[in-house]
């Protein structure tokens, strides 16, 4: 054989094959090895998962730094600390260094402008991140303080736009603003005084210390019962939230609502929020099956009447009742296939109040988007967190998806509230 013919017959095809092999893996696909069972969760074809860490505590929201470091908020202190920091030093995706810091428990957590922002139930703090260290400066600054200690819908969650604003979900300490909360037949207060300081999204500056809601906060949107899932979509410059709808229609107004009605009403609403929006709580709820906003029975509703609800903001999408949407992120990376880009992921923590019917949720959903709006129906993306089916009571669930974050490489991170398990989902 001549040199030329060797090149033609062997080297060129070999180079061709090597190029094909490397191009078949998407750009930015990490060279990760999935857990044999994908960490126990079920994913669409082509997606895999590994468990980054487990038994971290009662996990809440999660943040991932560009260098891959992970921060998890805890609902309860573990060893006296409320935030977990994790670092993978070997590149296999599993956490090798796990450190606890912070003296307060909380829910919201977010990396923004070189700081780790952390939302306790009554205050928003931030820790200065250091360039190479896992742990930030351990003495936090207070950005917002003085939220009143409440015992219902007290968790604070946060989002940031790109022009210096911090958005805070201030949940309403109430189910439907009844005169006597959660009491059969008790009418709603009209107008609802709770809306003055709760039941909406408040906006603050993201870098001014010691702000308070009264002096520095401006109410961005109202009529929102509790929106644990809140996110700024930087691609379209809009704020989005997903609301926890009211509970126990059957228990408080049995003349109008059966057990089955209660299990299916109201929908959890997904909103694109603009300043000044009024989304209707407590006067209204969204009927998933009818596709309209109707009056709550506390305000004279009977399941059909609309009244003032005709003027309230409608959702861009509605989800099954009581599924507890607890986090929302928009996917802006390019590891996942094209159809996932721009889309939204929502973590549904799982219901408690569909009893005596089965509970629902305990999955991460995906919604394709085209610019500002959904471009199709929603689908379950990751499931089997609960580990049992059906789930009759949320205490039966082995895991409940709670927090979402996207790494710089495009991996999707999911946190769990039962044991603090963190999954890293990737596409290969």
């Amino acid at each position: 054989m001549t040199i030329n013919s060797i090149v033609k017959r062997i080297a060129v095809p070999l180079i061709y094959l090597m190029t094909i092999a490397s191009c078949s893996r998407p750009e930015n696909a990490p060279a990760l090895v999935a857990d044999p069972d994908n960490g126990g969760i079920a994913l669409p074809r082509g997606f895999y998962a590994l468990v980054v860490a487990d038994d971290l505590g009662r996990g809440r929201h999660i943040a991932v730094r560009n260098n891959g470091d992970i921060f998890l908020a805890l609902q309860e202190l573990k060893g006296g600390k409320g935030i977990v920091a994790l670092r993978d030093t070997t590149g296999d995706g599993k956490a090798d260094v796990i450190s606890y810091f912070g003296d307060l428990p909380g829910t919201g957590i977010h990396i923004h402008k070189d700081h780790l922002y952390f939302a306790h139930d009554t205050a928003i703090l931030r820790y200065k991140l250091r360039q190479n260290d896992l742990l930030p400066d351990l003495v936090p600054e207070t950005i917002v303080s003085g939220f009143k200690r409440e015992y219902q819908h007290a968790a604070k969650t946060i989002a940031f736009d790109t022009i210096g604003n911090l958005y805070v979900n201030v949940g309403a300490p109430s189910n439907a603003c009844q005169q006597n909360d959660r009491t059969p037949g008790s009418p709603g207060m009209d107008p609802c005084p709770i809306l003055e300081n709760y039941g909406g999204i408040w906006r603050f500056k993201d870098d001014v210390l010691n702000q308070t809601q009264a002096d520095n906060g401006s109410r961005f949107a109202t009529g929102l019962r509790n929106c644990v899932a809140i996110e700024w979509n930087s691609r379209v410059s809009n704020l989005y939230v997903v609301q926890h709808g009211r509970d126990q229609l059957n228990q408080f107004f049995p003349d109008f609502f059966t057990d089955e009605d209660n299990a299916n009403l109201p929908a959890e609403e997904f909103f694109l929020l603009e300043e000044g929006d009024d989304c209707g709580w407590p006067y209204c709820y969204f009927d998933f099956q009818k596709g309209i906003k109707v009056l709550n029975p506390e305000y004279g509703g009977n399941g059909d009447s609309i009244g003032r609800c005709a003027e309230k903001k409608n959702p861009i999408m509605a989800f099954p009742a009581h599924t507890a949407p607890n986090d929302l992120i928009f996917y802006h990376q390019d590891q996942f296939p094209d159809r996932y880009r721009q889309g939204a992921f929502i973590a549904f923590h799982g219901s408690w109040n569909r009893s005596p019917l089965e509970q629902e949720g305990f999955y991460v959903a995906f919604i394709p988007f085209d610019n500002q709006l959904p471009a199709g129906t929603w689908e379950v993306f990751a499931r089997n967190f609960a580990g049992v089916e059906p789930v009759n009571s949320p205490g039966d669930a082995l895991h409940r998806p709670m927090g979402l974050a996207v790494g710089r490489d495009g991996s999707l991170y999911i946190s769990d509230s039962v044991k603090g398990t963190i999954w890293r989902v990737f596409y290969q």
Binding site: R58, Q75, E76, Y151, Q152, P173, N180, D181, R182, T183, P184, D247, Q248, Q251, W352, N353, S355, P356, N392, S393, P394, G395, D396, S417, V418
Partner: protein, 129 residues
Amino acid sequence: MLFILVSCKGKKVAAHTGSEAGELVYKKYCLACHQDNGSGVPGMYPPLIKTSWVQGDKTRLIGILLNGLEGKIEVNGQVYHTAMPPHQYLTDQQIADVLTYVRISYGNEADAVLPEEVASARNQSQPTN
């Protein structure tokens, strides 16, 4: 073996003639939060399973049902801090029935609550903290 597994699921473990009325009250007013098996909701509503809160002091227990409960409590080693609303609209008989039912269900073993005891506690009307 199967029997042990079944009973360990946390369902009612004893026959409860006379507490059917209590079970009806439970299903209507308590089940949503405390759940069909008494397990409550993690982080939100405490379990009623084998706890001194249920089996212990009757006056305290009646007071919780009458006046509600707000603030952190620890039940079986876990902390809960979601408010429980008052249930003063239930009659003395209903409260006696449902507490009697819960005190012999979910692994609990304690004596009945009488309507007179509820009436007496209602008259005192002391909020629990």
